[in-house]
Amino acid sequence: MTSELDIFVGNTTLIDEDVYRLWLDGYSVSDAVVLRVCSGILEQTGATAAVLQSDTMDHYRTFHMLERLLHAPPKMLHQLIFQIPPSRQALLIESYYAFDEAFVREVLGKKLFKGTKKDLDDISTKTGITLKSCRRHLDNFKRVFKVVEEMRGSLVDNIQQHFLLSDRLARDYAAIVFFANNRFETGKKKLHYLSFGDFAFCAELMIQNWTLRAIDSQVDDMDMDLDKEFLQDLKELKVLVADKDLLDLHKSLVCTALRGKLGVFSEMEANFKNLSRGLVNVAAKLTHNKDVRDLFVDLVEKFVEPCRSDHWPLNEY
């Protein structure tokens, strides 16, 4: 006796959050069943393994059908095939787009469309995330990127509008898209100590201050690209290093601004010249794409490392 066909369809689509989690994590049906058995569900409910198997299959099938809709969340809202309460829908979408920071850290700033797929295997082994899940992550990034790439207006708002994500998740995606677009190098060994959160914070500041829209909020343009003029202006900063007077003036201004706010103020003051030179040099080079990519590497090399060698407590930017 073999089961040829075994389905369950509810008028309200049944969603088991635990199984959804397992599915998102990329486990196969049989692995998921094993994990569920381990969770003690059989004892709690008195069910048999066969029941669990059939239940898991069923949920996986449902998720598989839902996946198409999850790719375009607004469709999920209007579709008629699955009757799912709104709160559930939100949860489905949010979980689908949620990502593992370990994974993001690996692909952050990389070109999302080329080459990375080959590396997924490595990433999977490295992070312990299943290949399937890696692929979903990457596909999510690509999908979001592709949709908002050419769009005007606030990056975060666009993402929220088209993917119905929570504010926090939308910001994270904005950071990912921003990094991917500018191809900031984050994979160098020196940068390994930085978490995704650190980069996301940087990205947010940069989006707010360095992009086209930041300069002129009237021009409701994109958040994606750095403002070329701004970068050009940064070039001018060279004078801060070249000109002794300006250097001193800069120093005193910065010192005034930071006095009392910094635990290592005296060290900073002492090293100001070096640090400032490092920063300005990095800034001045930003007109070249190559240097933009290396922004974070350079920052760490020229700014953070000297600080660290002086035993500053870690304090980003």
């Binding site: 006796m1 073999t2 089961s3 066909l5 075994d6 369809v9 049944l14 299959m57 598989h64 309460p85």
Partner: protein, 1042 residues
Amino acid sequence: MPGKLKVKIVAGRHLPVMDRASDLTDAFVEVKFGNTTFKTDVYLKSLNPQWNSEWFKFEVDDEDLQDEPLQITVLDHDTYSANDAIGKVYIDIDPLLYSEAATVISGWFPIYDTIHGIRGEINVVVKVDLFNDLNRFRQSSCGVKFFCTTSIPKCYRAVIIHGFVEELVVNEDPEYQWIDRIRTPRASNEARQRLISLMSGELQRKIGLKVLEMRGNAVVGYLQCFDLEGESGLVVRAIGTACTLDKLSSPAALLPACNSPSREMKESPLVHPPSHGCRSTHNSPIHTATGSRLTQNFSVSVPTLIYTGMGSGSAGKEGGPFKALLRQQTQSALEQREFPFFTLTAFPPGFLVHVGGVVSARSVKLLDRIHNPDEPETRDAWWAEIRQEIKSHAKALGCHAVVGYSESTSICEEVCILSASGTAAVLNPRFLQDGTVEGCLEPRLEENLPAGCGFCHIPYDELNMPFPAHLTYCNNCRKQKVPDVLFTTIDLPVDATVIGKGCLIQARLCRLKKKAQAEANATAISNLLPFMEYEVHTQLMNKLKLKAMNALFGLRIQITVGENMLMGLASATGVYLAALPTPGGIQIAGKTPNDGSYEQHISHMQKKINDTIAKNKELYEINPPEISEEIIGSPIPEPRQRSRLLRSQSESSDEVTELDLSHGKKDAFVLEIDDTDAMEDVHSLLTDVPPPSGFYSCNTEIMPGINNWTSEIQMFTSVRVIRLSSLNLTNQALNKNFNDLCENLLKSLYFKLRSMIPCCLCHVNFTVSLPEDELIQVTVTAVAITFDKNQALQTTKTHAEKLLQRASTDNEELLQFPLELCSDSLPSHPFPPAKEHLESASSNSGIPAAQRATSVDYSSFADRCSSWIELIKLKAQTIRRGSIKTTVTVEKASPMGEGNFRNRSAPPCANSTVGVVKMTPLSFIPGAKITKYLGIINMFFIRETTSLREEGGVSGFLHAFIAEVFAMVRAHVAALGGNAVVSYIMKQCVFMENPNKNQAQCLINVSGDAVVFVRESELEVVSAQQPAANCQPSCPGGEVTT
């Protein structure tokens, strides 16, 4: 030309990409009704086109309005080649044709393609302007309302219940026409969908005409079915109950109709006598046509008739004269109709006087091509024959009507089993005739029908029982006789007094059959049928006893025919009726008592059974108050283990001794076991696992004993197909497989719905089909309803623990015992199955054999049966059943009583984008009031694929299809302005696959009533005025046509 149909195409969304180059679509829409077609403009390059078309107007006569569906086709414009179809929407405009239903259909409909499934949505607005002369048109029957609900719809009042209406139409199946060889699967599927849509429209119209002739204005309990007869054609048939309904004007009256029985009585329908009463009222309800001997045989041979007793006639002292009167009136009143059948399963209080028992009839027919679709005489004749049989069964039970009536077919190749079943009943004569009698009868009537037990009283003459039954005095009123067990196909009457909770009881059975052709095949099937019926019945009986219950409601026995096997599946809800005697236990008797260890084994097994019964009693809270016989003066009872031949029933000592053979008042139901074949019976008896704690299940509308429903409902359909290994197909292996299939399916359901605990699965509806040689398909549709745990806990308490222990009772040892019961197919059971045999034997004996060329009747079995029955009689001595205790219940349970019914309900789930549409197979929505019926939903879909693997295999394919069907039903309801479908039923789910070709096809037919409901919390204010409002006469509906 009495109608103008107006259609506007507004917009589309989520269309599929039809042009790979641009990733866009140039869509336009064709709107077709009858032979007229309109087109919208092409909306270039968009997946979300905004057509905003003008109003397309169709001027049509109302006959077409009823028959034709509105057909909307979405296409992709292609300059150079033929336009590609994206998909279609069929809209049944029938709901717009009666005044108080929907006025406009407007909303988003899924665009459906039979090959690709749903492909985007389209927003459509449909209106109908009807001209005044509409109802003078006799070819149309606009204005007649249809309801799938098998009770009087909640916001209506039945003025008159006219009776049975039926109709069938036949046609050639497009799938089997020659043209099918050259057209695409899509074209073929669409032709089929359209044809069936047309045929159901026509059928509904014709039924409507019949209703108008009867001067009714509505059809309740409308059941429409398709028989896909393959080569020989396509039959669409429908049955229903014609009524005259009045809409209740006051919102307060929307409350369940059970609040005050006495008042309701006055409102209850006058039955326009559905049919003949018993020909011989007083003397013997059994017809004189058959010899007394045969009579005896006949009743014995109707397995389903069995445990139905009825006391009337001379039995009850007080009841006697009154009943006589009653019967005479009924008789004359019912004389007018051909078939006194009612498809209703729930009735206005006071309507149902007595219930006789289940009557059923089956017949095996050979299909042959329908030569002239306009003259579907053969099929009509077949059904007429069966209905006639049912009628005579009912008569034999002293009943003049059949309620809870339904018909079904099972087709395999050219063999077709037609089945009909119902519950024989006596209806209140007060409702059968006009006011004249009313005055004098009423007082007596009420005194005569103590609440909650009247319907149990036997409706016929005790001296001439049509079958052996064991009668006792009613535990409730003590005046009338009741049978010891009652089987019915109806829902539990609201006023019935029930002790404890109910539960789903199923009997499952498979029998192998040799592959054969034509007549040989039909003969083989006919030979098997009575044995199957008998065994199914035995199983039901045993399981009922094991649950310590004494009545079955909602009984539905389905016999399915396949190439090499027959399957029987009976589902019912067992309850303990306070009025009936306490069921005896089950006793096991071994055949070879000389072996010590064997004896021990038996006693061990006996103990297990007793334990199980005890556990079940606790599980279902069956603890009838016991009152000693002396005090109440019960006539019953003798100590246990009395000799079975002696009956000491004081007042009815004149009973025929013959009956005692099978029904002495013994204390137990004895199973004799002595061979391996029977093992399986005991096995299945004891291995039925009860639902996990917090779950209850039943196949009736409401669960007896639970009345505190909360508002969460989840309707679902689950389908399973198993492939049997062809190697060792034996009856036992088959039975086991089938049993496991059903049990596992139930277990899966319990597991899946565990988050709803505590909840009850209601209206659990199993359908079995045998799509291929070694495939068994089981489809289940049910609804899970949560209930208030706190209230339930008061009575449930420790049952969870008990449940756990129970598993230990299902010991495997028990299975070792052979059971004589089935070994030689000689029923030791009092109720042998051969009903059909004998029935037809008596009625058809004069018919020449030539007639059997196309239809196999049972006549040839007559001889065998009568000798068989001899054996039964002998065997019957080993069976003892009876009751020991008399009980009296003081409490009155009314499961749907107004007070209980209302519950604090959660606020409706607000969905900003897509409105939630609830679906339920029940006729009500817990915690809510139905305020409006919008019309019937009756949809037929075909889905086919040639890329089965790519769509996730058979499971993926069917899962998606069923989800799509739900979506389309919901969309239609929403477009009508409704927010729920009640009485939803999936009547057909035919699934065929061909994995080698990577193909599969599925046909689904669903129906239900679209309604608007309002949460009770929102009705709070209104309900305060209820008492006053309830008495007001309801307004005339205005749609009564003349």
